[in-house]
């Protein structure tokens, strides 16, 4: 394509991602968004104005060289695009799928003023998928330094930290408590949003090209303590995430049919419960599901519930099938990624906004029968800047449900801190760590991701893993930087 004028670029419509049709995809676990074609990606790349002072990079927690990779793309230089991408981001195929771009890079795009920012996330995914298929520039590790680093947790923070350190020539061992690596990418995010094959492919690169060793079935704090790791390794990075589920403090939470989104999603994603009995772990949803909360995890749980209901119906004929999102605030405060909420509604999830459960009621066998709720209204903004919900007196009502999934956020798992007295924690259970370096209060121990921030995003965890890797490398090169 000849060089375009700015006006011509502005005339190109934002390229929509092809997806499976809503009434098809809500009955399967295949990926929803199918990815841009080469033609679409080139056209989308033409929309970028190549600003003299680009702001998009500021919006990226790992500082991806956005204008550079987009320029390479529109020049047809896919290899160049990959190289620009990999300079800052090791996992573009993952980030392109799960980052909340609308509040990060794309929010800073100059075209966003008209609501038509360049689809940076979709282009990132395009580049990431190309590289996963073609392997044009596999990472090459620097000569061995002889230093050994233990990474605890194989989620986005741990994996990013591990890859960066291994590229610098350090010998990296990842300890994972579950039987498969990937952390929340694996147990939390469903196949229809992030296929397991993508995670597997990225992990394979880490093992094959960078010599990273992954030890599954190792629950640090129990199998080995942090102190024991310090005795064997030069540095330890904690990327253990926020794995503990929260339950509402209301009556009836122990009835059969009430579960955490963590349990539900782990059964579906990690254990492949949607393929029971081919896989041994069962997962059960009823005819009327209420998911409490409206974050990404709530959307994942709601959309997985829909799919299980449809698959069940295909087997056992009809019957009522409803999935509700029950959220105490309004549409405007929904914390989920825009695309996830949009997809959930398209697929048939019903939203009950300004609604809060106050009690779950069971039948004589101890199974959930209904949920007593109260309507809410919005008051003044709270500490988080969101308007706080206030119950409306006398507005209580019962909603008929047989499954209640609590998606109310998670907090760090304390097991890793067993016998690690030097590691200071906040009252929320998160680890105290320096935001720039990831250093904890225990020498030679770094931390990053949800274990420090509480439940946040994949990309912010990756950013923390990256910053910690840089500081660990400084320390390994010269231990006097952390006396």
């Amino acid at each position: 394509m000849a060089t375009l004028t700015a006006k011509e670029r502005l005339a190109i419509p934002r390229q929509e991602m092809p997806t499976q049709e809503p009434d098809v995809r809500n009955a399967n676990f295949e990926e929803v968004a199918l990815g841009l074609t080469w033609e679409m990606a080139k056209l989308e790349a033409e929309r970028c104005l190549q600003c003299a002072k680009p702001h998009c990079i500021e919006g990226c927690p790992v500082g991806v060289l956005i204008p550079q990779f987009i320029k390479a793309l529109r020049e047809g230089d896919l290899l160049g695009a990959v190289q620009f991408m990999k300079e800052r981001n090791n996992l573009p195929a993952i980030c392109g799928r799960v980052c909340p771009q609308e509040s990060q890079c794309e929010a800073y795009c100059v075209l966003n003023k008209k609501g038509q920012s360049v689809a940076i996330g979709r282009l990132e995914r395009f580049v990431g998928d190309f590289e996963l298929r073609e392997r044009t520039s596999p990472p090459v590790p620097a000569p061995p330094t002889g230093k050994r680093v233990a990474i605890v947790g194989s989620g986005p923070a741990g994996l990013t930290c591990a890859v960066d350190l291994a590229r610098l020539g350090h010998k990296v061992t990842i300890f994972e408590s579950l039987h498969r690596p990937g952390g929340v990418l694996l147990y939390g995010i469903p196949e229809f949003r992030l296929p397991k094959s993508i995670i597997q492919a990225e992990l394979q690169v880490a093992v094959d090209y960078l010599g990273i060793e992954i030890r599954t079935d190792h629950v640090i704090g129990s199998t080995y303590t942090v102190d024991e790791l310090l005795a064997e390794y030069d540095a330890v990075f904690l990327g253990t995430g926020a794995g503990l589920p929260s339950f509402m403090r209301i009556r009836g939470i122990n009835l059969n049919g009430v579960m955490s989104a963590n349990e539900f999603l782990t059964r579906v994603n990690l254990m492949k419960g949607y393929r029971f009995p081919e896989y041994d772990t069962p997962v059960k949803v009823g005819h009327r599901v209420a998911v409490i909360g409206a974050g990404n995890v709530a959307m994942d749980a709601a959309r997985s519930s829909l799919r299980l209901q449809q698959m069940h119906r295909a087997h056992n004929g009809s019957g009522p099938a409803e999935v509700h999102i029950v959220y105490r605030r309004s549409r405007d405060e929904v914390p989920a990624r825009a695309e996830e909420f949009h997809h959930a509604v398209e697929e048939g999830v019903i939203c009950d906004f300004l609604t809060n459960p106050i009690e779950i009621l069971g039948d004589e066998k101890g199974n959930v029968r209904e949920m007593r709720c109260i309507h809410m209204q919005l008051g003044e903004p709270d500490a988080s800047g969101r308007r706080s919900p206030i119950p409306i007196d006398g507005s209580e009502f019962e909603m008929s449900v047989d499954t209640v999934i609590m998606a109310l956020g998670t907090s760090p798992n304390p097991i890793v801190f067993t016998d690690a007295q030097g590691l200071q924690r906040t009252k929320h259970g998160t680890t105290v760590a320096d935001g720039d370096t990831g250093r904890t209060t225990m020498r030679r121990v770094w931390a990053g991701g949800d274990v420090v921030t509480g439940a946040a995003t994949v990309i912010s965890a990756m950013g923390a893993g990256k910053r910690a890797a840089a500081d660990i490398h400084r320390f390994l090169s010269d231990p006097s930087v952390w006396p």
Partner: protein, 292 residues
């Protein structure tokens, strides 16, 4: 892969396996458990560690074949390997010198009770053990339990061996005869047995520790499927337990929760039996050199 190095058939439905898992052995203590997975399609099954050998790097697991996964595990032979073994998980038993203690174990619960009784005796306690099973065939490790107990009472439900009684009967007699001497009681076995043991000891006010076995996925506090209601709120069996004060447990809730996947469990068993029966037939056909 974690290799099975030894297998014993303790009864038709009770098997013992010794598994190489040196990462678990290092810090394993009485009362803790592991999560095992048979193969890549398998589910995560919590099993209490019945014994471990530091030098050999092995753990001993005893299980009753009650579902598809334990049936599959029961068919595995030495030389074969488990896909996953994670642990040690949960809090260890609080071993102290309490004075006189009673260890009540029912059925397959005898396995996890053995290291607890052994360590309690080693700590200076006078250990009275009561072990029971439905019948003689299901009873095992009587000799081992005798070796670590100052007194041992054996009973079966049907009277085919030892005393014909439920374990709660000799327990109640003990409490009536010398209840003031007994400092603490442990009970491990089927949920219903632990419930009745707790009810038996409650009027005597003797602290009673039960080791709960609930539905569980990860075993590290992530899923909360194992939550059990206590008088003062919910607890996770995997990270807060597995041992709890039996007088605080909401037994009705627990008994209902462990039934939640009953239909699915039955379906999985039926399918497994069909598959393994099918394999048997194929082997026979191949054996006669024909093929269909």
């Amino acid at each position: 892969m974690y290799r099975i190095v030894e297998k014993q058939v303790l009864s038709d439905v009770t098997k013992l396996i010794v598994v190489e898992a040196p990462h678990v052995t290092r810090r394993a203590k009485a009362g803790q458990f592991v999560i095992v997975i048979c193969d890549e399609q398998g589910e995560r099954v919590p099993l209490t560690i019945a014994d471990h050998d530091q030098a050999a790097g092995t753990i001993t697991l005893i299980f009753q074949e009650v579902g598809k996964s334990t049936m599959q595990l029961g068919m595995m032979e030495p030389g074969e390997g488990l896909f996953s073994v994670a642990g040690p998980l949960g809090h260890p038993t609080e071993i102290e010198n309490y004075g006189t203690v009673v260890c009540v174990a029912g059925g397959v619960g005898i396995a996890p009770m053995y290291p607890i009784a052994r360590d309690l005796q080693a700590a200076g306690n006078r250990v009275i053990s009561i072990i029971g099973a439905r019948n003689k065939e299901l009873l095992f490790w009587e000799d081992r339990m005798r070796a670590v107990s100052d007194e041992l009472i054996v009973c079966t439900d049907d009277g085919s061996y030892g005393r014909k009684a439920l374990v709660t009967v000799p327990l109640k007699e003990l409490l009536e005869a010398r209840g003031h001497d007994i400092a603490r009681i442990w009970a491990i076995g089927p949920t219903i047995m632990m419930k009745f043991v707790s009810q038996t000891t409650q009027p005597f006010g003797v602290p009673t520790i039960v080791s709960l076995n609930t539905i569980m996925v990860d075993g590290t506090g992530m899923c909360g499927g194992c939550r059990v209601l206590m008088n003062d709120g919910a607890r996770f069996v995997c990270v807060d337990g597995p041992e709890f004060d039996g007088h605080q447990v909401d037994w009705a809730n627990l008994l209902s929760r462990i039934q939640f996947y009953r239909e699915e469990e039955q379906l999985a068993v039926a399918q497994w039996q069909q598959e393994t029966a099918g394999q048997g037939r194929q082997a026979e056909t191949a054996g006669v050199g024909g093929g269909v």
